[in-house]
Every structure is written in C-alpha cells, then in structure tokens.
Symmetry: D2
Subunit: 435 residues, 4 copies
C-alpha cells in the first residue's frame, strides 16, 4: 500500500525511488560516462552543467492537476485532487520523482486556503514553495456583485473595474500570507465584435487599473503582465501582444514585467526573438511553458515544436548570463491535460524542459559569437544543431539522480501505481477546481 494517514507524500520514500533506480543505474552510468567523456573532449564540464539543471525549478499551477477540457466537453480523470491540500500532494509526487517541480502557483479563488498554517506545513513537507499568485477576473463567482462578462480591469463600468482591482489586492493579501513574492495578471478582457470596444478607452482603463494594483504590491513583490492575442474573446484582446504588455509594465513601474506564455502568440511568431528583446530590456518576468500547433492548445511542453523550445532556451541561457538587470524569471508550466493523466503529462513536460535547457547549455557560445561575427551562417546553424542533436538525457537523469529523484520518473510513477492509489483514496469521480 502506498498511502497512509491520508497523505501520499509519506509513501514515496527516497528508498522506493532508490530501489527503482537500481534497475537501470548500470545502464545509466554507462551512458552518462560515455557522454561525459565526449563532452570533456569538447571542453565541457558535465558536473557544472548538471548543477544548472539541478537548480532549475518549475512551478506547477494548482489548476493543472485535474483533467482539462474544451468547450466541447471534458473527460474526467480518476483520483483528481479536489482540495488544495490534495493538489499540493500531487505536486509533492511530481517533485519527489523529478526534483524539478519545487513550487506551486496558486489561482484565486479556485484555491483560496482555509487554514494557512496547514497549507504551509503541507507544502514544507513536500519541500514546495509558493510562486506567483494568479488572480481570476474572467469568471463570475457565485457571490459576485459585478459580472466580468464584458471585461474586468478594462470594463467601462467603474464598479466592475473596482471589483476586479479589489480582487487582485485580495490575491496579493493571500499570497503574502503564504510567502509568494509576485502576482501574475492574465486578463481575458477584450471584445468579440468590431465596435464593441473603444480600444483607446479599454487600454487606458487597463493602464489605470494595473497601476493601482501595482501600487498595492509590497515593495519586494513583482507584477507580471501576461499577453495573449485572442480567446476567450475572438475579435480583440486588450493586452494582445508583448508590445502592449511591455508598454503597460513600463508605465506601472520598475517592478512590473512582461510574462511570456508560449501558447499566446499568432501563427508563425518568432517567440525566441521576443524573449531576447525582453531580456535585453530587463523586462522578462515570468514564463509559462506549454506547446501548441494551432492556438493556445496548452499541450505537453516539447510535444510539438521541441526545436523552438531549444531556441528559446538558447536565448534564456544567453540572457540570464548577459542581462543581469533582468530579474530571476518565474517559470511555470501552463498546460491543460485533456486526455493524459495530468501527472504523467507534467512529468513529460518537465523532462522536455530540462532536455531543452541541457541542450542550450551545450551550445558553444564563444564559437557561436565568432561565427556570427564572421557572418558564417552555415556554421552558426551547425553550432546550434550540434548541441540540439546531442542526446542529453544522461545529463538530465544524472541531475535527478544526484537529487535522489527517479532516473525515469514516468516509469517510476507507473511502477509505484500512483494513479490507482489516488483513485483508491479520492474516488473515480473526484473533480479538481479549475477549468
């Protein structure tokens, strides 16, 4: 039996993971040693790179632990967490296995804590921190006096704007009690039809509202302003692109930043260039991982365009070293798990992130700079692809091993029968709050 005392965590003991790792440790060590030897020839110190991987922690949003859906329907997954405590337990499972999911990003009001101390203890037990808190002004709550049907911070109705502002301030208050240090604002505000919005007015109201929220932040907090071109509104979105977010953040103040969500771009956008521009200006605050083929599809990270992910990491690795004025970036996975077990999906996402990061760390930056200076385009491509084509999985595994995580988290998750245990505990029809 995996569970005891209503707590899953206690049962994924380091010992269990260690036992599972034993089966594949010899093969891993052979692969790792061979790769490390190859890298040594190239002047790369594997352990330095591994330390970078070990330090990379990605927040899991509290809404990502249940089954997601579309407007056409939703297929439930058994054993979904129905309380915040259970969500943190799920992240605890992820973190125990992967050692790279060391934070939770809360969504209010879906996850408003009742007992703060209990929640904090629970999180501490799993070694999980509280990352950015997220406000919700795109759904009406049962007791709400005002409706967000026509927008929130940009609404022409002052009462709606005030309600939305106060909600954000309330979210900050909750975040403070948990130890968060940043607020993410994603606005669904926009319009469905030409003429519905006065664009200038909507932008101005948004600016004014954000400034009030910004001014309510504790001095050691940051504000992340997310952008998105469409959906749930299908004609316009108030903060439609990075340029709008950048402009709004600049007018809020020095601790306001742009947040990039990979799925929030028009077809064919060069996202890596946006990332580079924001880093160059010290304005990249938050980063939401996912993947997509058509729109904001919220698929598993790296499942559709892994090379783009690598190119983005190239900019991130470069910018984190080169742009000290840019703050530490808040990483989060923002995917929707419509047909996969959410925990399996997140394990695959975390793996894809670390692989892309490791590949990007392999890029010979000095050689790349030289090739760029020489305008040797074929060589520039060769340098990137040499890094990308390297099988870096042994590095990622080794970094987990050193942290006592699982060599192969997905197979460990299955071997341990965790989903069945969750169903046994929570039932087949438990449903997570969220979308």
């Amino acid at each position: 039996m995996l569970l005891c005392d209503n707590s899953l965590y206690m049962k994924i003991e380091k010992q269990q993971i260690g036992d599972l790792n034993k089966k594949s440790i010899i093969a891993h060590k052979a692969q790792f040693n061979f790769l490390a030897g190859q890298l040594t020839h190239l002047g790369i110190k594997s352990q330095q790179l591994i330390e970078r991987l070990k330090a990379f922690q990605v927040a899991i949003p509290s809404w990502a632990l249940g089954a997601g859906g579309t407007r056409f329907g939703r297929f439930s997954y058994g054993g979904e967490p129905s309380t915040l405590e259970q969500k943190i337990d799920d992240i605890g499972v992820l973190h125990a296995l992967t050692q790279s999911a060391g934070a939770v990003s809360l969504h209010i009001p879906w996850d408003t804590p009742e007992d703060y101390e209990a929640i904090k203890q629970k999180a501490a037990l799993h070694n999980i921190g509280f990352d950015a808190v997220n406000s919700n002004t795109f759904q009406d709550q049962p007791d709400a006096r005002q409706s967000y049907r026509f927008g929130s911070l940009s609404n022409v109705d002052q009462h709606v704007r005030e309600q939305a502002i106060h909600h954000n301030i309330e979210v900050i208050r909750i975040g403070k009690k948990l130890g968060s240090k940043s607020l993410t604002v994603w606005l669904a505000d926009g319009s469905n039809f030409p003429g519905q919005h006065n664009f200038q007015t909507a932008l101005q109201y948004t600016q004014t509202s954000l400034k009030i929220i910004y001014d309510s932040l504790p001095k050691d907090w940051k504000l992340y302003i997310e952008y998105k071109p469409y959906e749930p509104n299908f004609y316009s979105t108030v903060i439609q692109d990075w340029g709008t977010s950048f402009m709004l953040a600049k007018e809020c103040g020095a601790r306001a930043y742009t947040l990039v969500d990979l799925g929030h771009h028009l077809p064919n956008t060069n996202i890596e260039q946006i990332v580079a521009t924001l880093l160059h200006k010290g304005m990249l605050g938050g980063f939401h991982f996912n993947d997509s083929k058509y729109g904001d599809d919220d698929l598993t990270v790296g499942s559709i365009k892994p090379y783009t992910l690598f190119l983005i990491f190239n900019e991130l690795v470069y910018g984190m070293a080169k742009n000290p004025q840019n703050p530490e970036i808040a990483w989060m996975i923002d995917a929707s798990h419509n047909i996969k077990d959410p925990l399996e999906d997140l394990i695959q996402s975390l793996e894809a992130i670390l692989i892309a990061y490791a590949q990007a760390l392999l890029i010979d930056q000095q050689k790349l700079r030289a090739a760029q200076e020489a305008q040797d385009v074929a060589l520039c491509q060769e340098i990137l692809q040499t890094a990308y084509r390297t099988d870096v999985r042994p590095l990622v595994k080794e970094s987990r091993l050193q942290l006592h995580g699982a060599l192969d988290p997905l197979s460990a998750y299955r071997s341990l029968g965790i989903r069945q245990a969750l169903i046994n505990e929570r039932g087949k029809d438990a449903r997570a709050s969220g979308l």
Copy 2:
C-alpha cells in the same frame, strides 16, 4: 403582455409586425423605389431578385438558442429555452420577424423529442420544417457504456465504433419521425499528440464506419460529412479538410456530400474556391454560416469578413445555376452566442446572409464572364465591387415586407420586448442544453 398559453408565437401576430413596419414604411419605400429605379437602368429586375431572397431559408440549430461559452467560462443569458418546445418557439420568433429562418436542425441527444406529434405540431404552428439531424459522438452521455474520450467512428476499440455507429442510426430513426431528410456527421475524432493516432488506421475505421451509417440511410436521405482542421483535438483531426471529406463521401456513395462550415479552415484558406470546386463536382451538400478572425470563433455571420461572405455567395449563386448535378444545399447558421442575446445575434446573422446573397445576385455574370475571357483583371474586380458596394438593404427589407416579416427585425425584437417576456416566462437562470 406578449405571452399567453405558454406560447410566445401566438403573440407575435402579423398585426404587431405590421404596426411596427408602419413607422418606417414610407422611408423604406422611398429607398426601395430609388434603388429599384437604379437597378432598372442596369437591366436588373428587382422583383425577380426579391423572389430569390424570399425563397432563401436558413436552418437554426437547436443548440444555438442559449448562451455559448468557451473553456474559460460561460455567461448565462436570461430566458434561455430549456426544452425543445421552447427552442422551437424561439425559432418561431426569429422566423416571424425575419421570414428566413424556416427550419430547425436538431442535435441528438440534446434535443431528443419526447412527444413527436407535439413537437411536429409546434413546428407547424411556427411554419418551421426539420432540416438535417446532427449526431453527437464527441461527448459522453451519462448512461453510455463506452467513452468517446479517444474518438468515436475512428476509435481503435470496436465497441466504441459500434456505439457511435448505432447512435447515428438512432439519430436517423428520430429524424425520420420528424420529417428530416439528411444526417450531418461532424466528427471531433482526432489526436492531441504525435504518435497517438495511426493516421491510416483512423482514416480506414472512419471510412468503414461512415459506410455502415450511409447504408442505413433511407433512400431519400443524404449524408453530409463535415470537416475541421483542429479543436477539440489539437494535433490532428481525422477529417481535417475538404479533400478528406470529399474522398470519404465518394467512397460512401452517391448521396454522400461534403459539408462546409466557414469556421473550419486554416488561416488564410481560400474558402470560396473550395466551394466552387465542390459545386463543380456536384459534391456540396451542406453549408454552415458563421464568421471568425482566428479559428472556429463561431461569431455572428458577416461580422468580421463580409467581403469573403460575398465572394462565397458569388460562387454559390453561380454554381446553383450552373451545376444542376449539385443537390439543393442545406443552409444552417452555426454560431455561438457568448456575449450577445442569441436571438439578436441570429437576427444579425440572417441579415448579413441575405445582404451578401442580394449583393451576389447583383453581379453582372455575363459581363464578368466577358471580362474574365478578356483577362481584364481590373474590370473583373470592378464588376464584383460594383455589386458589393451597392446598398442592398432596401431589397432585403422589401423581401421581408412581402412575406409580412419585419422591416427591421432587430428593432422590432427590441420594441416588442421579447427577451424580457422570455425571462418572465422562463426565468433568469434557465439554461439551454448544448455547449
């Protein structure tokens, strides 16, 4: 008071509409006479054109009468119809005002009739026919033995395919009892991730399943096969484009056709050319109207790209005359009313459809053919735009007037206080079945 005996229809008397029309009849007549005079100069007989407009009837799907939503939420509209009878009443309102919504397209199981005779009488009362019936194999019903989580007609599991096939046969059975003559199959089947589907197998299963359904059709029925590139699946859709639908229809048999939904195309697709190709091959069976800027946005017809709508109608007008082998097309509005009153939204859609149709009827086809033969590109454009730039609203109004509909349906709807009457009758929180 508008309502009596629980039936709205009785209250939108021709008299009421006639009274409202009186206010604007003089202005209308002046506008109409001026336009008719202008058209006479061009050799166009207005009344002939008006007869075409009068004959154009668009089906309203039973799911379009409540508020629509997105995965991020749904904002209810007061007075939504919660029974099939109420839905037909709503269409009755639409038809009384516009005289162009003379049919309903049912969705099973959302609208499975309980008392067929009562439903048929209700529809007859409103002068509304039963167009294509629609099956649903994208949502799991409470009592279903098999889940459509991983597809229906294309599912690798034979039991699921069988359930989906039987459901379609059941839908045909229901349609027969109501007087429908066609079945529309929209498959949500597809995959979210590379590798999930064996494309060839999924296509083959779909082919085989459709053939069984096709063979179950009464001899005077038609099968419409809809296509869509993505959503709710975000990596692939089994029937992704017109080519796939065309191929499947061809293999089903002579009464299987392709159905075009305007929102089901990749960015920048030339839809009017697809329409022309299908007409050329006698394969255009059904047509779903809506508008969109980004994806399957399901916005009010003509609200985003009215010129494209006109260009499509150009092909329809031409093909309906030129391609006798093509069957009569089943017209339907397939929009989602996320923030507007659904009835107002549908009124605007019907208006946009008739305007585009009237404009297309104004195109001087003979002159256009001559300009095309002469490769006089500037003139070709001029001929189309001359028709498009004409203010055809007096023609559309006149066609409604001759049918005793409202000169201005939207303002009549508001003047009659219909939404408030519906709220009074059905309550603020009634919710329509559907998405």
Copy 3:
C-alpha cells in the same frame, strides 16, 4: 493626340475631364442628392464630409508606377516610366483624374534626381508635393563598397553599418532639396536561420544606428520606423512588430514615430487595435496602404478585406480627432502591380481608400460611444455596419467633382486612351526602376 512636348500632363486638361463627366453627371447628381437627403435625416451634413474627402491626399511611391513581380518572374507592362520625370508625369495623370494623389514618395537611389529644379517644376506643374523619402539598404548598388547581404543598420560589421547610416543621411540631404519633411526607414535586416543573428546585438546596433540618423534630421523633419515580421528574411526580422518599432522610436526621440504598413503583419493580427494604440500614444507617423490574403502580397487596397480597411479608418477618424498629440499622418500606397496596369491599380486603390474613409466618417461616434458605455454589443455592431453598408460612392464622386477630377477615374483613364499614349511615347519595353 494626347501628348505634346513629351509631357502627358498638358493633355489631361480639366476640359477633357469635364467633358467626360458630362456623360454621367445627371445620374450622379440624382444619386448624390438622394444620398444627401438620406444623410440629412440622420443629421449628417454631406458637404462637411465631402470637405474631409477633398482634403485627403495619398502619396504615390515612385516605385509603384512600373510592373511589379515576384521571385518567380515579372511580366512587363508597356509604357512604363523609366525616368523620375516620367514617374511624376504618371502621378500627374493619377492626380488629375482622382484629385487625391497629390504627392510622391521618392526612393533613393532608384529615383535620385539629376536636376532638382527641373524635377520640382515638373512636380509643381502637376500640383504634386514631395512626401517622405525612402532609403534603400536592402540591395547592393553597383558601386557599393559594402554589401547588405547580411543586413545594414544591424550588421555586425561596422563598415556596413556606417555605409547604411551615411546612405540615410544622403537621402535626407536629397529630400531637403526637394522639400520633403520626413524619412521612412524600412529595414530588410534579419536572419534566415536560427543562430545567424544574436538578437540582442542586432537590436542594439539598430538602435544605435537609428539614433545617429535621427540626430541628423533637420529639426522640422520626422523619422518613420517601419516594421515587418518576415521577408526578405525568413527566420527573423530585426524590427518584427509595432512593439519593436515603438520602442526604437521612443529611444530615438520625440520626432520618431512608428509606420504601419497593412501587409506587414502575421496572420490574423488585429491591425486596427495597433493603430488605436499608436494613436493613443501619439506615435502613429506613417501609413502604407495595400491589401493581402497571405503575406505582404501588396495587392490593390480594399481588394481582399475592405471591412478591415473600414475598421482601421474608424480608428483613424476617431484618433485624428481625439489625439491631437499625434502628428499628421503620412499616407502612402505601397502596392505591387504584378498583373494590372499600375495606373489602373492605383486608381482602384485610391477609390477604395476614399470609400472606406467616407464610410468611417458616417459612423455615428456619439451613438457608438453610448452603446459601448451601455455594453450593448449588438448595437455597437449595428452602428458600424450601418455606416459600412451605406453606398458612399456618390460622396466620393462628388468630392472629386468639386475638385474638377473625374467622376469615374478608371473609365476616364480608359476613355482617354492613356496607356496606349504612354506606350506610344515610351515604347513597349520601357522598364521602371524598382522591384
């Protein structure tokens, strides 16, 4: 015979146009009077609106008067202008007929004048002014010491950057001698492959180069910074979007602005919102008209998406009234005439622009604001579409008539046999400089 003294202008006498107008003046007056009467009912003073139309002047770029082409080939058009004088003559024809093409926008080095006084006299003869001058750092000139193969203002090679900067300064010098007051910089700079560019470096070099150019501007000049997401580079463009242009302009100084070219956007971009944002910030400097379905297709204005053009004009009309801090906007047509007679194409573009402008002027802004305040979305749409659906051609014709232009410029152009006259004068194989 139309031509004398090697100058076309002398021959499109007001008299000739007046004679042609006589044929349709009665029909026009009837249409105009009817429309004016209708507008009076709505409280709109036609003459006020006509004055706005009369004042609207669009620059013609000197490169738009010959046949355009694609990388797959180019089909010449007879009688193309091969000198700057001939180009100005062609614009003279356009302006005589339309009375709305009262300026030329020169491209250097394609149109470097040899005799400034002669050019100025020629332009004065046609009543044509000199709008923004355009630099070219995307092609190598025969005598160039440095190549722009890998970029210009962003090039890693300082010598190339210097050459490109000096070229821009030279363009300013030429513009000053002609009476221009602004410089448009369109950079083709970008990369074809991941890794080729260091995005941060390229952006920084561009910033620095633009600042030097900006500082070289006369005090009464403005700098317009154009953006474009791709082509001729197919992986990245240094100034990929309005956000980048905006940021660069802000760092240059108070007389640097963003230039919007309609074709320079990713699929599905909401351009009208960008226009509104720039106006709100007082940052919209230049505007290039064209139309497109797929990319930077450079088609005739209004030929593909006339409703979008109208929506953009809605923002322009509103912003020009509401945002006094925004400068007067420099209007230009930037289309490529691959298969139509360039002059016919431009006539159609000018017509489409004035129609969209007139429609936008018909929008009841007060009623629209009220509907927006009331969140009456259906009414907002109705207000816009009421304006759009109005046949405003009589207003546009009347404005031309009052300026002694042609009622129907395209048919006048054909009646006067201008193309044949140009071929007679210049030959079948004359080729314009440009693309």
Copy 4:
C-alpha cells in the same frame, strides 16, 4: 590544385575523402560502437538500418546550385555554375562527399541539354541519374508566342493552353533522351484578385490540359502533380491543396500521383497526416524537401522544424512498408540558397534528411501499435520521442563511411577548398540560370 581538365569531379578522389576521414575515424568508431551497443540492447540491428540509409538517394534540382533570391533582390555567390555541365559537376561534388545525392532533376528550359551524350557521360562519371524532369510555364521565354502572365494550363486562351501543353510534351521528350521516368508539373496558375478567375473554368481547363499531357507520357512514366496554396499568385492558386491534386491525378489515370512540397501549405497544416493519407491511397508520387517558418521560405531542410520532419519520416517509413501499392517516391530537395553557399546548404539539408530518416527507423513500430491500441497516449509520445532524442549521427556517418563518402561532409567541403576552386575556375560573377 583541385581542378583539372575543367572537371572538378576527378579531383575529389576517394583518396582525398579517405584521408580527411582518417582524422576523425577513431572518434567516430567509438561513438558508433557505443550507439550500436545501445541499439543492440533494444533489439535493433544497426547494420540493417545503415543499409536503409545507404539506399536513400535524393535528387538535386538543377536550379538549386546558384544563389536564390527574393523579389527584393539577390546576392550572388561566387563560382556559380552557368552551364548544365557545371551544375552536374556541383552535384558530383555533393554526391562524392555525401553519397546521398545520386540524381539530378532538370528544369526545362533552364537546363535544356545541347549535347545529350556529353551530358549523360558527365552524369555517369559522377554516378548521377536523371530523376523527374520539370516543366516551366510560369515564366515567358524570349521567343514565346504566348504569355503565361495569366496562367498556362488553366488559361482561358486556348493558344496559351496549347503552348503550355506542348512545352510539357517537349519536356517529356527531353527527359526520355536522358533516361528520366517521370514529369513533375508545378503550376503557378492562379489569380491575384477576386473575380479574375472563374474557379470552375480554371479547374476544368487544368484537368483537360493535364489529361492531354498524361496521355502523352510513355507507358513507364509517371506524372507528379504539385500543389501550392499561394505565390506567385496572391488570391488563389488553381491547384491549391492536396485534395485538388489528388482529384486531378485520379482523373488523369493510374500513373498520376500527388507531389508534396513541404513549403506548400497554409499555416499550421498537419503535413504528416496528408502524407499518411496519400500513402494509404497509394497516391504519393513525389516529395520535395525544404523548411519554412512563414510561407514557401525554401530554407535548409530541418533548419526550422526538425521534429515535424521526423514525424513526416515516421509516416514515410511506415507507409513505405505498409502500402505496397504506393510507388517508389521521388525525393528531391527544393530549397533556395539566398545567403549560404548553395553546396554547403545542400550538404546541411542532406544531413538533416538522413538524421530524420534514421530517427524514424528507430521507432519501435510494434510497441507504438500496441500503445495506440491501448490508447496509452503518454506512452505513444514517449516511444516517438525516445527515437527522436537519440543521437543518430553516428549511424549517418557510418552509412557514408561504408560508401566512401565523407564522415563530415561540410568540414570536408571546407577543407578541400572547393568553393574557392569553383571561383577560380568559373569566376566571381558567374550566374546560374534559374530564379
């Protein structure tokens, strides 16, 4: 000195390549042996896989050996081949180094041979075959009586259609003399403006014209019909998608097939599914490799979306085994070398193709089928990504080594100083025929 007797080929002796390989053979062997050992554990026989790689030959089009350009300009590359003989020499260089470019695909009239025997001997010397011949009906030739300005096989003018048909028949005649066995028809036909084309007429003319060409084919020849959604026409293309090509091919006859060019799709198209559908129907005849981010960008294969390339190869590998009714596919690289040395670019493309092929060959098809049957989506993804993440470069190198090609063709090409030798021989300003 590399060159003698005006022939480059003689100088890339196997010996030279062998000498270069010596430097890295030890490292290669270590890498290969390690990988082969790993694969053995997985039950994969490396040598079987290597034999597949060795057999994979990709045709090089004769127009790809010079610098490409855009409508904005072209930057020449020194030493471009200006005769067909020189082009074949260039392919000889490629083939000597990579051993995977064993065919040339000729474009007529750019490469019409003068002395057939000499050309055939030259090709034989390089061990290069003649793949599909390509017709050109998108450019006017100096001596042409009819212009393709408004289309060719779809033109409303019968004389133009006849000229285009006869040209294709002439191309077949030339191909027969060289030993080609197939004709590729890419039509640029389409329209730039709504109204220009009667879509039905254009389609019908195309059908009729293609049938005549098809009927002129020798019995052992195949016809490949290419599709493309836009460019050089920007409103419509006659053969806009695979569905149109499929339909046309079906009506031509049993030896007519669809040709897929990776760059000829609308944004977000699922190309791998199209490939699977065509294979399922036995209709995939030709395949053009390249890569793109925005449109038909014609970039180096694998430079933008290598995972998509892998997914396509997954379908190809599966279909080539599973669909014996599908003919052997004609592979070709169709890229444009705007800023890289064309030969370097092609070397990188060939490498990317073989890598994707090798990765696809590593997919455990049996396990994948089982996971698909079990609807285990996470596992399906895992199986694909396990193959994709493997560093297969040692397999590709080994396959070249066994054929006496270069272990690292790009570095060999540079070490041998081939570009400089070509410049020395042909001059700095030689220009290849083509785009």
